[in-house]
């Protein structure tokens, strides 16, 4: 008898059981356990492929799933404004997880690919946060990804390519909805994708033992509708899309990450993250992306929390204000990053903080400001 059962389902099950059943004491430790379970190398990642510096990323092939890697995502975050100037943030993410082995039994439900999707809308003006999750096995066509044209979906949530003409550029329709809210957006990348790290090979630790393949479309024109409680808002704005796949994103000693995707007013973008260690210095990485997608590595001098917020639902304290000091060969960049509204906690099976932020600071001598998204994981 082969070793069986959808491993990831089990891991997911831990999560939702915990979400549903956790008392506050458990709440303090379980998300970390979930994270380390899903994203670290401690749960049989030896059975999967691993990110390699030799990998050459190609399009559109790499928009597709990499089923031999444990986890993968198609991640959309955006800052939008209605015609009346009402500000919104949104996130739509499709996660794919694989488990190491499958049973010999023959039916549709015995599938080693599992999908999870998260949708969130931040209504900044009213400080209301809407979120929803969905999950499914890659069975009966309930979830999956395909290319030419590209489409990733979970049930009726999807990101679907509408103009499959230029392999370097993506034009997609995003559609998803939860209880009392939904999004229908059209996103169009202005430029070719940015290969993060070393040609898409993104290290996640000092030792290089954890790494992922990672590329982004940091600047996608966005238009469409956001519906909240029956009210429709026509919105415009910018979306940042991340694609990442890996089998070991975190080492056992790493507890979580703080990640920033920022659109500066001067047309430049910054992607910065730190992966926190249980002990010792976090692993940090930052990059400045110019208007023409030229990529300039940045040294992270400082990444310090300036303000925190405690979730009334989970009691978890998140650092929602940050001071970033970054340095390139040309300039010093000092940024104050702050949540546009405190409650943007994704209190779902996989609990984390994903929120729209505002940015203020200086790039060299120039005053800059902008919008962006911040993701905080592994807090408890």
């Amino acid at each position: 008898m082969s070793r069986v059962v959808l491993g990831v389902i089990c891991l997911l099950a831990i999560g939702f059981i915990l979400t549903n059943r956790m008392d506050s004491q458990d709440a303090e430790k379980e998300p970390t356990r979930f994270l380390s379970g899903v994203l670290s190398d401690s749960a049989g990642s030896q059975d999967y492929d691993h990110a390699s510096p030799d990998k050459i990323i190609r399009f559109p092939e790499d928009h597709d799933a990499h089923e031999n890697f444990r986890h993968e995502w198609w991640y959309f975050t955006g800052n939008l404004k209605s015609q009346e100037g009402r500000e919104f943030g949104y996130q739509l993410t499709f996660f794919r997880f694989a488990n190491a082995s499958r049973s010999e039994i023959q039916n549709a439900w015995n599938n080693d690919q599992t999908w999870m999707a998260h949708l969130a809308v931040s209504d900044i003006e009213s400080e209301r946060f809407f979120l929803e999750q969905d999950m499914s096995r890659q069975s009966l066509g309930l979830a999956g990804v395909k290319i030419q044209p590209f489409r990733v979906w979970l049930h009726n949530w999807h990101a679907t390519e509408t103009e499959p003409l230029d392999p370097d550029r993506l034009v997609l329709d995003l559609s998803a909805g939860g209880d009392g809210f939904s999004i229908d957006l059209s996103v169009k990348s202005k430029t070719a994708p940015v290969l993060q790290g070393e040609s898409g090979y993104s290290r996640k630790s000092h030792t290089g033992k954890s790494a992922s393949h990672y590329y982004s479309y940091p600047d996608m024109d966005t238009s469409g509708q956001i519906r909240i409680d029956g009210e429709t808002f026509e919105v415009l704005g910018t979306t940042w899309m991340d694609r990442e796949w890996s089998s070991t994103l975190l080492q056992d000693s790493q507890t979580g990450w703080d990640w920033f995707a920022l659109h500066l007013g001067n047309g430049k973008k910054i992607m910065a993250f730190q992966i926190r260690q249980e002990q010792g210095n976090p692993y940090r990485h930052a990059v400045l992306i110019g208007p023409k997608q030229g990529k300039i590595p940045l040294d992270v001098i400082e990444m310090i929390p300036t303000r925190s917020w405690t979730s009334p639902e989970t009691g978890i304290e998140y650092p929602i204000g940050w001071k970033l000091s970054l340095e390139s060969a040309q300039e010093m960049i000092g940024l104050e990053v702050d949540s546009l509204m405190p409650n943007q906690e994704m209190n779902l099976l996989f609990r984390y903080y994903e929120g729209a932020v505002e940015v203020r600071g200086q790039s060299g001598s120039q005053e800059i400001s902008g919008r962006g998204y911040m993701e905080l994981t592994g807090y408890n």
Binding site: M1, S2, R3, V4, V5, L6, G7, I9, C10, L11, L12, A13, I14, F16, I17, L18, N20, R21, S103, I105, Q106, N107, A108, W109, N110, T114, D134, M135, S136, R137, L140, G141, L142, H155, N156, W157, G177
Partner: protein, 857 residues
């Protein structure tokens, strides 16, 4: 200074002051009364006991019904979770792509696929429901998620399963499941959780596994048993209906659960009625005891009146005292009722299992509404019973001191006055019964009045019977009997009330017993007609209980079998709700076993075999108000098809009714997997055990067969029948017990009052034996007379139960069968219980020295 005087002197002071003084007067009186009670607590305790048993009966029935129902609801919650609707297919199942289409549509996110079947667990030999779920969608329906923390331990486990209790089956242990001829070893991976997230120790009957294992084990690849939905509105269900293919059916669970619960309503109402009857009997005892409590303290009350206490104060005091009695009785009644329900729960759930649907025994619950109801009913019963005597006690004056003869005169007058009330009560009861429409509760109210009427006339009857018997007894039965009869007559205020209670209890008991006996007789008669075969064979293979063609062919070749009929029974959800459908492939002679009620005497064999015809049972016809010639629309494999009702027949196999159609019709319109039951007529002289063995040994015989002879099956049916009435028996006996307690109490009270008379009798030469015999004779004669009076009342009750209550509750009629032994037994029980009740007062008298009795003079 007596408070009453203080109060009168202070006339004109403020209201507040009055209130305080009045309160302190009550407190003083209460102390005096309590001191009195302490001296002789027996009567007080018996009064408390009356309230206790009356309340216990109500609480017991209520808790039992409530617990059985909440167990049903809990099982439904476990199985259906928060689902409001279900989509089901036909007997073969539901294409899982329908689920995929609904999820991809996106409008119904709260949806979960289920694969479910009854399986057999080798380890305990029991049948369990195996629930195959998809945890990734199931949490939307069963919010708690049925799978627990230990789910993670499934990683690397093949064929994992979750059980209700890992103490019985520890994690890692194995369970072998059987289904449809297959067996599979599962490994216990965790516990099933209830809504609180706690391990559900009582999720009896449910095993949970992932849908992929369930499909594989149950051999249902590509198929679901159902899809659960949590829909927010009616609009959603209409939208969903449009989305669904015609071949499947959307079921509103709320409607179905309510319908299922409603099925048990008649049964529960019948039980509750018996509970209330016990309280009613108890009320007579409360009345009687209150009268006695007052009579016994006549001296004290007169003295209190003499020193200035007002009748209001005395009445208030007695009221307070009665309230304390009620409160103690109610508290103990709740406790005793709880204990009683432990005894009854198993019986009630067994009955529900037999009559309605599968439900585990579950746990006892004491709902707040039961406590409230028992408090209200306890107080109300006590208040009604105690109001009249207390009101009268307020009017006790010094002059009326110890004038029992006056009271007896009053009692006699009252008994006369009660006569028209009794007749009125009876008439009103009869009218209500006749014109109560379909309401069971109103019918029961009528029935209560019908029984109460004659009971109220009991004292008058007893008085006149005793007057007639007195002179006769003197000559034939001797002095003791004569004194006893005179005593009964002259102490009608005591004996009358006990006789009412006893007569009421015995008549109710007799009525119910006669009805049950008639029912049993009818069922027995029905079995004789209906079950004409010699052997009955049922496949008990979980999942696939069907006889194959090859089995049928083999059976046809067995020597000694004259003819074989086949049948199967399936559940369908038609426009009339969820009900059973029986398909029969039988010979004309077997068909003639049907007891056709309408059209009377018709030979329906040919019509039965015509296309789209159906027979219905009497209860089905009554429930849905369907007559011969009507059409019934049934969901078939060809869509909704109308079937003509060609006849209505007598059947006691299903309370909620049954549709019967020919095998040809069944085969054409319903998913036919084959018959599940065979009935065989054997050649004369064939030895049953040999034939059973021969059938069991047939090559194509299913692995698990249950072969029963006509006699065995008949015994089993009657055994089941008897089991369903066990709980009724308990309540019946409880009522008699209350009446008996009342009798003891009345007689003790009487002896207390008559202690001086007894002493005088002893003094003039009556021996203790004679006195004791006289007391016992008095009790026996009262019991005997109450029993006699109970006979016509019991017969009437029996007829009302058969003709009105049963038809209304269950929709079936039965033959009235009066077993003289039961009638005699009722009189015997009445006499014996009264005789037994006389023993204690007789012993008490025996021990009382003459001096003690004479001291009171």
């Amino acid at each position: 200074m007596p408070t009453g005087i203080a109060r009168s002197r202070m006339a004109g002071s403020t209201k507040i002051r009055k209130f305080e003084v009045s309160n302190s007067a009550t407190a003083t009186l209460l102390k005096i009364f309590l001191r009195e009670q302490k001296k002789s607590p027996g009567p007080l305790l018996l009064t408390v006991l009356s309230v206790t048993i009356g309340v216990a009966a109500i609480v017991g029935v209520d808790i039992t019904s409530h617990s059985a129902l909440s167990e049903f609801e809990r099982a439904n919650r476990l199985s259906s979770g928060l689902a409001t609707h279900q989509v089901v297919g036909d007997a073969t199942g539901l294409d899982e792509n329908i689920y995929a289409a609904i999820r991809l549509d996106g409008r119904f996110p709260n949806t979960a696929p289920i694969v479910q079947a009854e399986v057999q667990v080798h380890e305990d030999g029991q049948a369990w429901q195996l629930l195959g779920i998809d945890p990734l969608s199931d949490y939307r329906i069963r919010e708690s998620a049925l799978l627990g923390d230990k789910y993670t331990e499934q990683i690397g486990i093949a064929w994992p399963i979750h059980v209700p209790n890992t103490e019985t089956w520890p994690i890692g242990s194995t369970l072998t499941l059987y289904y449809g001829g297959r067996q599979q070893e599962f490994t216990v991976a965790g516990e099933v959780f209830d809504e609180s997230g706690q391990s559900d120790m009582h999720a009896e009957g449910f095993l949970v596994t992932d849908i992929m294992w369930a499909q594989a084990f149950l051999n249902r690849v590509g198929l679901l048993t159902r899809i659960d939905f949590r829909l927010d509105s009616e609009v959603d269900s209409h939208t969903l209906q449009i989305l669904l293919p015609d071949s499947v059916r959307l079921i509103d669970l709320q409607t179905r659960h309510t319908a299922q619960k409603d099925m048990t309503r008649a049964f529960r109402t019948n039980l509750a009625a018996l509970g209330y009857l016990t309280l009613l009997v108890a009320m007579f005892l409360i009345y009687s005891s209150t009268v006695f409590q007052i009579a016994r303290r006549r001296n004290l009350l007169s003295q209190l009146r003499a020193i200035g206490y007002t009748h209001h104060e005395i009445a208030r005091m007695l009221g307070t005292e009665l309230s304390i009695i009620a409160l103690s009785g109610i508290s103990m009644g709740i406790g005793l009722g709880y204990l009683l329900s432990t005894l009854m729960l198993g019986l009630v759930t067994d009955t529900i299992n037999i009559l309605y649907f599968d439900v585990a025994h579950g746990t006892l619950e004491l709902p707040t509404e039961t406590i409230l109801k028992s408090v209200v009913m306890g107080f109300l019963g006590t208040a009604i019973a105690g109001a009249v005597p207390i009101r009268e006690a307020g009017h006790v004056t010094v002059q009326t001191l110890s004038k029992r003869t006056l009271e007896e005169g009053k009692a006699l007058m009252l008994s006369r006055k009660m006569l028209p009330v009794a007749i009125g009560c009876f008439g009103l009861g009869a009218l209500i019964l006749m014109f109560s429409g379909q309401s069971l509760a109103i019918a029961f109210a009528g029935l209560f009045l019908l029984v109460l009427g004659p009971a109220a006339g009991t004292p008058w009857l007893i008085y006149h019977i005793c007057r007639f018997l007195g002179p006769l007894a003197g000559g034939t039965l001797g002095l003791v009997a004569k004194t006893a009869i005179i005593n009964i007559r002259s102490h009608l205020s005591r004996t009358g009330i006990s006789a009412i209670a006893l007569s009421l209890a015995v008549s109710a008991s007799l009525g119910v017993a006669l009805m049950v006996d008639s029912f049993r007789y009818s069922v027995d008669n029905w079995i004789s007609h209906y079950m004409r075969s010699d052997l009955y064979v049922v496949s008990t293979m979980p999942g696939e209980p069907y006889f194959s063609e090859s089995f049928r062919a083999e059976v046809a070749t067995v020597d000694g079998i004259q003819s074989t009929g086949y049948s199967t029974r399936i559940s369908i959800q038609s426009e009339l709700g969820l009900h059973d459908l029986l398909a029969m492939d039988i010979s004309p002679s077997s068909f003639h076993g049907f007891m056709i009620l309408s059209p009377p005497g018709a030979d329906l064999w040919d019509r039965f075999n015509q296309s789209r015809t159906v027979l219905i049972t009497e209860s089905f016809a009554n429930r849905h108000d369907i007559s011969v010639g009507d059409d019934i629309r049934l969901p078939t494999t060809q869509g909704e098809v109308s079937f003509e009702v060609i006849g209505i027949y007598l059947d006691y196999s299903s309370e909620h009714g049954l549709l019967t159609l020919s095998w040809n019709n069944f085969d054409r319109y319903f998913p036919n997997s084959g018959p599940t039951t065979a009935s065989m007529m054997l050649d004369p002289g064939v030895i049953l055990s040999d034939m059973k063995q021969a059938i069991g040994n047939l090559e194509a015989a299913p692995e698990q067969l249950l072969i029963r002879s006509n006699r065995e099956l008949r015994e089993q049916i009657l055994n089941i029948f008897d089991r369903t009435f066990e709980v009724t028996d308990i309540l019946r006996w409880l009522t008699v017990l209350v009446a008996m307690t009342g009798m003891i109490f009345s007689l003790v009270a009487l002896q207390l009052e008559r202690s001086s008379l007894n002493a005088k009798l002893k003094a003039v030469g009556f021996s203790r034996v004679q006195l004791a015999m006289q007391i016992i004779a008095e009790a026996s004669i009262t019991g005997f007379l109450a029993g006699l009076i109970a006979i016509p009342v019991g017969l009437m009750l029996c007829l009302s139960l058969i003709e009105v209550i049963n038809v209304r509750s269950f929709g079936w009629t039965m033959m009235t069968h009066i077993d003289p032994m039961l009638v005699l037994a009722a009189v015997g029980i009445s006499t014996l219980s009264a005789t037994a009740a006389g023993i204690y007062p007789a012993m008490r008298m025996w021990r009382t020295p003459i001096t003690a009795g004479l001291r009171d003079e």
